[in-house]
């Protein structure tokens, strides 16, 4: 009887262990996310910083967490392959700038909201989605941070990287992809880049 009990114990221990492995990965992503958010909030609350300095500090915190380069590629989809390498570089730089600006302008309207992780989903081995709530005084905004794990780690980047953000169910990447595609149906990539420079 004792041995059977032992076996059951071992098997269940194994099961718990393998389950916690997946959970550990998720916890790591969540923990890193929350520390980064705390860092950003500290920067935002530091009134001694100039706006420019503040934005630069925030970007420094967030850069290892986001794969802006991948986002730039995905936002163009198949069209990406038709660009020569110089245009590709130029486009990535413009897109990164666009993301940074967009984020900074959102930070401007920060008003003591709190960030809470509601749910963690792992649809695939190399994909994790953090479902978060941005809780304001009156209403909360659901924001999903979608992470992927690159096959090879990228230097100076986290192991898991954000490649898309969904705000109230709207993927910023998909929205960009759609509008770029429509724009490029009648205009050239150079015109698109000119518009991005102006923004």
């Amino acid at each position: 009887m004792k041995t059977i009990l032992k076996k059951i114990l071992f098997v269940s221990a194994m099961l718990i262990f393998t389950q916690s492995l997946g959970a550990n990965e998720q916890d790591d992503v969540k923990e890193r996310f929350l520390t980064n958010i705390d860092k950003v909030i500290l920067i935002v609350e530091d009134k001694s910083l100039s706006k420019k300095q503040r934005n630069a500090n925030i970007i420094n915190v967030l850069t290892p967490m986001f794969d802006f380069e991948l986002m730039a590629k995905l936002s163009l989809g198949k069209i990406w392959r038709t660009l020569d390498s110089e245009d590709q570089k130029k486009f990535v730089n413009l897109y990164v700038e666009r993301m940074e600006k967009s984020y900074s302008s959102k930070v401007d309207s920060y008003n003591n909201e709190k960030v809470e992780v509601k749910k963690i989903e792992q649809p695939k081995d190399n994909r994790i989605a953090l479902v978060t709530d941005l809780i304001g005084n009156d209403e909360s905004l659901e924001i999903v941070y979608k992470y992927y794990k690159p096959k090879k780690p990228i230097s100076q980047k986290d192991t898991w990287l954000v490649y898309d953000v969904e705000i109230k169910g709207v993927s910023i990447l998909k929205a960009d992809k759609a509008q770029f595609k429509e724009f490029l149906q009648t205009k050239s990539i150079h015109e698109l880049m000119a518009v991005l420079v102006e923004k």
Partner: protein, 262 residues
């Protein structure tokens, strides 16, 4: 039998140490970013399915585009300045209460559409909210149902109900002053209006407004009040748009799909 246990132990320990060494080793293999970018094509393929964007059915794109410009002009030159003045005159708390008052009035629409989709728990919660907020919350100006009782609002309209039963969105239509919509949601405005106490037609039950003038007046207050609280949102959306019309169109359709899914 003891041996079997031992084997399990060995497995456990090995499995464990294997994991540890793996997680320690991982960050020790820095890869130059140049190498990664050569994998760009793989990456594109890997994400291709996930990133597939549903093409919005848009046979009226010409009309929609000009209506979007009209709405944007109306917003920039009429609503925005008025809302800015209004914002200057009334404290944020007052404006938030006005918004809550209107939100509370739309209770019949939410409760019926929740019920039509079989979400009876949500309907019950909405009813609880309406009773509490209309009384303790003084005609809906405050929201004690949420802050004191933890009752959440459940936004549902007839467009979502139709979508819930599988109706497609139909062609995209931009409505004057209202903004992006589609055939399904435009048709749904009518049944929803019957469940709304702000109207101008003859009704056998109580409504807040009776004549067209009253209706337009009340609607304008609601709109301006809403704009005064949400101006920055639209301004930011506009900043992110390369081309305003298709951007708003796609955001709207994605947003509605998500709402229907929930």
């Amino acid at each position: 039998m003891k041996l079997a246990g031992l084997i399990f132990m060995v497995f456990m320990v090995f499995g464990f140490s294997g994991c540890i060494s793996q997680s320690v080793e991982e960050p020790q293999k820095p890869v130059l970013s140049e190498e990664v970018s050569s994998d760009a094509d793989d990456e594109l393929d890997e994400f291709a399915e996930e990133m597939q964007v549903k093409e919005v059915y848009d046979p009226f794109s010409g009309y929609n585009r000009s209506m979007t410009s009209f709405n944007d002009g109306a917003y920039e030159y009429v609503f925005k300045p008025v809302a800015q003045g209004y914002r200057y005159l009334f404290h944020e708390e007052i404006r938030m209460s006005v918004q809550k008052f209107f939100h509370n009035l739309y209770f019949p629409m939410r409760v019926v559409n929740n019920a039509l989709q079989g979400k009876f728990k949500n309907s019950a919660e909405e009813t609880g909210r309406f009773v509490i907020n209309s009384t303790v919350g003084i005609l809906g100006l405050f929201d004690p149902a949420k802050s004191k009782f933890g009752l959440q609002a459940h936004e549902e309209d007839f467009g979502q109900t139709l979508g819930f039963y599988g109706a497609g969105s139909g062609p995209h239509i931009v409505l004057p002053f209202i903004g992006p919509s589609n055939l399904r949601d435009t048709i749904s405005l009518y049944p929803d209006s019957l469940l709304t106490p702000i109207d101008y037609t003859e009704r056998s039950y109580w409504t807040l407004t009776d004549t067209v003038a009253e209706y337009l007046g009340v609607k304008s207050v609601e709109k301006v009040n809403y704009a005064s609280l949400n101006m920055e949102r639209y301004d930011k959306l506009k900043q992110d748009a390369v081309d305003l019309y298709p951007y708003l169109r796609d955001l709207y359709e994605q947003y509605r799909d998500k709402q229907i899914e929930e």
